[in-house]
Amino acid sequence: MVPFMDRSEELKSFEEQSDDELIRRVQGGDRHSYDLLVKRYQRKVYFLALRMARDHDAADDIAQETFVRAYFAFGSFTIGRKFYTWLYKICMNLSVDHLKSRRSLVSESRMGDETDPLEREARGPDPHDVLVSRETTTKIESAIDALSPKYKAVLVLRVYEDMSYEDIARTLDISVGTVMSRLSRARKKMLDVLGESER
C-alpha cells in the first residue's frame, strides 16, 4: 500500500533533489524529472541567451533549443559533472551560431536603442544622472555587442555570469590560458570601441 502523500510535499521532495538525482531519472526515461530540470534552469539559460543575442525572440529560441538538444544528448552526459556548465555549453554554442549568422545578415547599430530588452538601472534620483547612467550602460553593452562572438562569449560568462576561468574553459571547450587571453583581448577591444564612441 502506497502511503498517502500530499501533492505539494511530493513536489517539494522532487524539487529538493539534486541535479544528479534528477539526471539519473531522466536517463532512466523519466520525463517529469526533465521537466523539473528545465524549470530549475530556464531563467539562467534564457537570460544568458538574452545577454548574447540581445533580443527576446532569439533568446527564447536559443533557450528552448538548448533544453531540447540537452534532452537528446543526455546519453553523453556524465553524472558528477556540473549540469549547468554542460547546459551553458549548448546555450553558448547556439548563441555564437546565432550571432555569426546575424552578423552576416545585418549590420548592427543598436546605439541608443530605446526598445532594448536590457533595462538600465536608475540609481540616482537626478534624472540627468539616470540619463547619463543609462547612456553609459548602453554604450558598454553596445561595445560588448561589437565584439566577435568568441570574445563576447568569454566576457559575458565572466562579467554577467561570474563564472570561474575553469568553468568558462569547460563551457566553451577551450583551455584556461585561452580564456585569459581572450578576456584580455575582449576588454581591450571593448575599450577601443568605447573610445571611438567618445570621439
Binding site: R31, Q42, L118, E121, T137, M180
Partner: protein, 420 residues
C-alpha cells in the same frame, strides 16, 4: 616593462585572479603609467555598469509555459526524424509524382504478396500443439536414447496419419513447449495440417497446454498420484494445473548436449534448486543440467532430459507465477511482440510480488533482455523509455556485480535505441 605586457595582468587583476607578486608589479606600474591607470579605471567602471544593468522579465506567463513548450518540441522531434528520413528516401527513389505512384503500386504488390505468403505459411505450418491434451500419457520405459527414437518414429507416423496426434510423450511436450515459446513452430515436425489438431491462438496457450501436459505426465509418474484428466479447453483448470506444476517445479531445464558451460553452471543451479525445494522428498521431474548435483529417481527416466546424439540448443525454462517461461537471450529475435510483452508482464509481476525471491535476479535480466528485443521490434517509442526506466530500477536493486554489469549493458543498449 612596456604597457602591452601589462594587458593580461590588468585583465587578471579585474577578475581578482592576479597573484600577489603580479599585483605588486602592476600597482608599481600603474603608479608611474597614467595611461594604464586610466585604462584600469575605465574597465572597472565599465564592468560595474554592465553588471548593474538590470534585465527585464519577459511577458507575463512566459515562464509558466516554457517547460511545456520544451517538452512539446521534444515530442515533435522524437517523431520527426524517422518521418523525414522516410520522406527523403522516397524522394530519392522516386523524385517525380508519376514515379512515386508506380513505386507505391510496387510496394503495395510486394506487401500483398508478403501477406499472402505469411498467411500460407501460417496455414501450413502454424503452432501444432493440439488443444485437446491427452488423458493418457504413454510413458517411455526404456532408456532415454531409445525414447528419443520412438518419438521420432511416432512423429513420422503422425505425419502419415498412422498415429493419432494426441499421443505425445513428455519429451515431445518439452520440445514443443520450447519451440512454441521461441516462436519457431513452423519448423517443428509436429506441424500437422489435420483438422482434428486445432492450433492454439498464441504461444501462451501453447505453453500452458505443454505445461499441462507435462503436469499430467508428472502426476502419472508419481507413485500414488492418480492420473489427472486434463481439459485443454478449460482455461481455469489448465491454470490450476499449471500452478501445481509451478509449485513442484521451479526451474525446468532440458539439455540435449549437456556441454561444458552448462556443467559449470550446474552447481549454481543445483543450489538454486536446493533452496527452492528444500523438503521435497518425493520423486519429481525437476532436473537440472547437472545429473551429479540433483538426485534423480533411478527407476524413472526424466522426461525433460534428453540424451540423444542430436545437437540442439539448450532450452531453459522458469516456472513463474504459474506459467512456464522460456529463457530468452539476445538471439531470440524471432519472438513476437505479444510474447515479449507477456513475458515482461509475467516477470515484472513475479518480481514485484517476490522481490527477495531467488529468481528475482534472473527476472531482472530476462525483463531487460525482453525490453531490448521488444524495443528493436516495436514501433512504439514509449517501449524504449519504459524499458530504460525499468532496467534502471532493477539496476538499483540488483546486488550481484555480474547482474549489475548485465543490466548496465542492457541499459546502454536500450538508451542507444531510444536515441535512434
Amino acid at each position: 616593462m612596456s604597457c602591452k605586457k601589462f594587458d593580461k595582468s590588468i585583465s587578471l587583476y579585474l577578475d581578482g585572479e592576479l597573484d600577489e607578486r603580479g599585483e605588486r608589479a602592476l600597482r608599481e606600474h600603474l603608479s608611474t603609467c597614467r595611461r594604464c591607470a586610466e585604462k584600469v579605471a575605465a574597465l572597472e567602471s565599465a564592468q560595474k555598469s554592465a553588471r548593474a544593468a538590470k534585465t527585464t522579465e519577459p511577458r507575463a506567463g512566459y515562464w509558466d509555459t516554457f517547460s511545456s513548450r520544451v517538452m512539446e518540441t521534444i515530442d515533435a522531434r522524437t517523431e520527426r526524424p524517422a518521418d523525414s528520413r522516410l520522406k527523403r528516401l522516397v524522394e530519392l527513389i522516386a523524385p517525380t509524382p508519376g514515379r512515386r505512384l508506380r513505386f507505391a503500386a510496387g510496394l503495395a504488390s510486394m506487401a500483398l504478396a508478403f501477406t499472402a505468403g505469411v498467411l500460407y505459411i501460417n496455414r501450413q505450418g502454424g503452432p501444432a500443439l493440439p488443444s485437446k491434451v491427452p488423458t493418457t500419457v504413454e510413458r517411455p520405459q526404456g532408456p532415454v536414447a531409445q525414447k528419443d527414437d520412438e518419438s521420432v518414429q511416432r512423429q513420422a507416423a503422425q505425419k502419415k496419419g498412422e498415429v493419432k496426434p494426441t499421443e505425445i510423450t513428455a519429451d515431445e511436450v518439452t520440445e514443443i513447449s520450447g519451440r512454441a515459446l521461441r516462436g519457431t513452430e513452423a519448423e517443428t515436425p509436429q506441424v500437422a495440417a489435420k483438422e482434428e489438431v486445432s492450433r492454439p491462438s498464441d504461444a501462451n496457450e501453447t505453453a500452458k497446454a505443454a505445461a499441462e501436459k507435462m503436469e499430467s505426465d508428472k502426476i502419472a509418474a508419481l507413485p500414488q498420484a492418480p492420473a489427472q484428466p486434463a481439459g485443454g479447453k478449460d482455461a481455469e483448470k489448465a491454470g490450476e494445473s499449471l500452478s501445481k506444476a509451478a509449485d513442484r517445479t521451479e526451474i525446468l531445464k532440458t539439455n540435449e548436449t549437456a556441454g561444458e558451460e552448462d556443467r559449470r553452471e550446474a552447481t549454481t543451479e543445483s543450489e538454486k534448486l536446493a533452496r527452492i525445494q528444500p523438503a521435497a522428498p518425493q520423486p519429481t521431474q525437476t532436473v537440472s543440467l547437472s545429473q551429479k548435483t540433483v538426485e534423480q529417481p533411478k527407476a524413472q527416466a526424466p522426461p525433460t532430459v534428453r540424451a540423444g546424439a542430436r545437437s540442439a540448443p539448450v532450452v531453459r525454462s522458469y516456472a513463474v507465477g504459474g506459467v512456464t517461461l522460456h529463457e530468452i537471450t539476445d538471439q531470440d529475435t524471432l519472438m513476437r511482440e505479444d510474447e515479449l510483452r507477456n513475458l515482461i508482464v509475467a516477470w515484472t509481476t513475479h518480481i514485484e510480488k517476490n522481490p527477495s525471491d531467488s529468481l528475482a535476479s534472473e527476472g531482472y535480466q530476462q525483463v531487460a533482455s525482453a525490453y531490448c528485443l521488444l524495443a528493436r521490434q516495436t514501433r512504439d517509442e514509449g517501449v524504449a523509455s519504459e524499458g530504460a526506466r525499468v532496467i534502471h530500477t532493477y539496476l538499483d536493486r540488483a546486488k550481484s556485480p555480474a547482474v549489475r554489469d548485465f543490466l548496465a549493458a542492457k541499459l546502454a543498449e536500450i538508451q542507444s535505441l531510444q536515441k535512434k
